[in-house]
Amino acid sequence: MDSDDQWLYLPELARVKRISSSNKSGPFVGSEFAFEDLTAAELGKYSYEWLEEITLDGLKVDKIKQIPLYKRSGYTYLIAYIDKDINQFRKVEFFNRGGAHFKTLTISEFENYGGTIYRPMLQQMDNHLTGKSTTLLVEVYKFGLELNENEFKSSALSQL
């Protein structure tokens, strides 16, 4: 499958540069998150296999095997645990090219933004090989903003 389109804004040069997005497996600024963990989660990026329904920390979850379709992925597969009640990922286990379970992402502190909209305020990635972990904390999500499609054009990067 095709990779994402990525542009980078370099403030020192006031330059917008299109960059290769084939870097999937590399670490993002020394963190335990790889670039592919931070790009948009789209349905078409994986093939899926439903494994079973289990109980995880007292919650009913679907256990699903996800196989990346992108050839440069650093993972052979992911095991995702999806909360049956709010339809959100609660945990993802990552299996490296050698097939070893080496990272776990734990997603928690969900807040409800009305109706069926839930967002996690805390995501923690633990690396079992290095013993290191990285935490992503979110202060607030805003919905209902008036966004114009031109704000998502690459040239708009220099207008932020």
Partner: protein
């Protein structure tokens, strides 16, 4: 390779910058100003070639900052970036500039930018022949990365077939040059008080430009037309033969820049056809960048860059001394670590004479608000080459920046 020491400005790919800006702009709805201060220490191991030039050490300090106000609806933005350098050796290098003081107003599918601004056009790394809006702050660094703020009005419009921009640049900024005390100059200094303009109204002659940009699949395309005063001066010896007078000529040019991004490959072309002082010439850069990502699962990225530079101007008429038949080779090593460590190497080689201008630069953050850089420039040239004037000016630079 000709007189200007147009070094290499390898772009360092820092994804974090993009993320940080998206995050901060989404959050910001008020005023912010982040100052920074840098101490710089340049060392020239060789004795100077000309009278008046300082020996060995060039300490300096510079102050910068980024001020920003974004309205709640993100449609209005003010940016303010002052710059002040104090140099102990070269009086000309002690200077102040407002890099940016601009107001941006966005409407649904058009936008207006007014003020002093920095504009970048182009896709190449060694030299951007299409990048004509801003004047170079040559006394800062000879590598064409530092640019003076340009007063402008820009009207931009998004359409289904790309983005169009119209520029009016009412006031001309003269290029800065090292003074008598400074290194990296020729035997005769540039007279900065007696610039001559080939158009009536001089600095107020005004420039116009049109720019079109679009993305079609893996292609990023830009087309432009510029008419106005050339940023690069023709340097003419005065009658006494004591100073060089900068002569700013009329320039009309049209150009194209294309990047094709495929997998880990970036293929780049910049091409300009120009008419300046009765000389018609083309100027171009053609090259590629290939990156080996995450080598052996180490997190390390290695980029390889090659660009061919070609320029056929007649330097007796349009002596904006630039690269002619040169080849640029470079590498970029990124550790992708918490400190954003990065090593850049680049060399511009004149394949006719074997002259080489090279630089190697390492940078990393220290802690959460400091950055350390070390840069070495090395050059060698055949005695018949203009570059030979700078042969004594290979140097080593250390910089430490504190952000507040």
């Amino acid at each position: 390779m000709k007189m200007n020491l147009n070094l290499l400005h390898l772009v360092s790919c820092k994804a974090i910058v993009l993320f940080a800006i998206i995050i901060s702009s989404a959050m910001a709805n008020d005023l912010s100003f982040t100052p920074n201060v840098t101490t710089e220490f340049r060392y020239f191991p060789e004795s100077p070639a000309y009278d008046g030039q300082f020996e060995y050490f060039q300490p300096s300090i510079y102050f910068g900052g980024e001020g920003r106000w974004v309205s709640k609806d993100r449609k209005k933005r003010v940016r303010f970036e002052p710059f002040l350098r104090l140099d102990l050796q070269d009086d000309e290098r002690t200077h102040f500039d407002i890099r940016e003081l601009s107001y941006l107003q966005r409407f649904n599918d058009f936008d207006l930018l007014i003020g002093n601004a920095q504009i970048f056009w182009g896709v190449a790394e060694s030299r951007n022949v299409v990048d004509v809006i801003n004047q170079f702050d040559e006394v800062e660094n000879s590598d064409e990365t530092d640019k003076l703020g340009q007063p402008l009005i820009r009207f931009g419009k998004y359409t289904d077939v790309g983005r169009f921009e119209i520029y009016y640049l009412p006031y001309f900024r003269e290029r800065t040059f090292p003074g008598k005390d400074g290194r990296q100059r020729g035997p005769i200094t540039v007279d900065l008080n007696n610039a001559d303009y080939k158009q009536g109204r001089g600095k107020w002659a005004g420039d116009f430009a049109l720019r079109y940009q679009h993305q079609i699949g893996q292609f990023d395309i830009g087309i432009h037309v510029f008419t106005g005063t050339a940023r690069a001066p023709f340097l003419e010896l005065n009658e006494e033969g004591t100073r060089l007078l900068p002569i700013y000529q009329k320039l009309t040019q049209s150009g194209l820049d294309i990047q094709w991004t495929w997998d880990a490959w970036l293929l780049k072309l910049e091409f300009v056809i120009a008419d300046q002082s009765d000389d018609n010439f083309v100027s171009s850069a053609l090259g590629f960048e290939y990156t080996f990502f995450d080598i052996s699962d180490s997190g390390l990225d290695l980029g390889i860059l090659v660009e061919c530079l070609y320029d056929n101007r007649d330097e007796t008429k349009t002596a904006s001394t630039l690269f002619e038949n040169d080849i640029f080779v470079g590498t970029r090593l990124s550790w992708n670590n918490f400190y954003e460590s990065e090593l850049l190497f680049g060399a511009i080689i004149d394949w006719e004479t074997g002259s080489i201008f090279s630089s190697i630069e390492y940078e990393r953050r220290i802690g959460e608000n400091m950055k350390f850089e070390v840069e070495a420039q090395y050059l060698t040239a055949n005695d018949t080459e203009p570059l030979a004037q700078f042969e004594h000016d290979s140097n080593l630079t250390l910089r430490l920046t504190r952000y507040f």
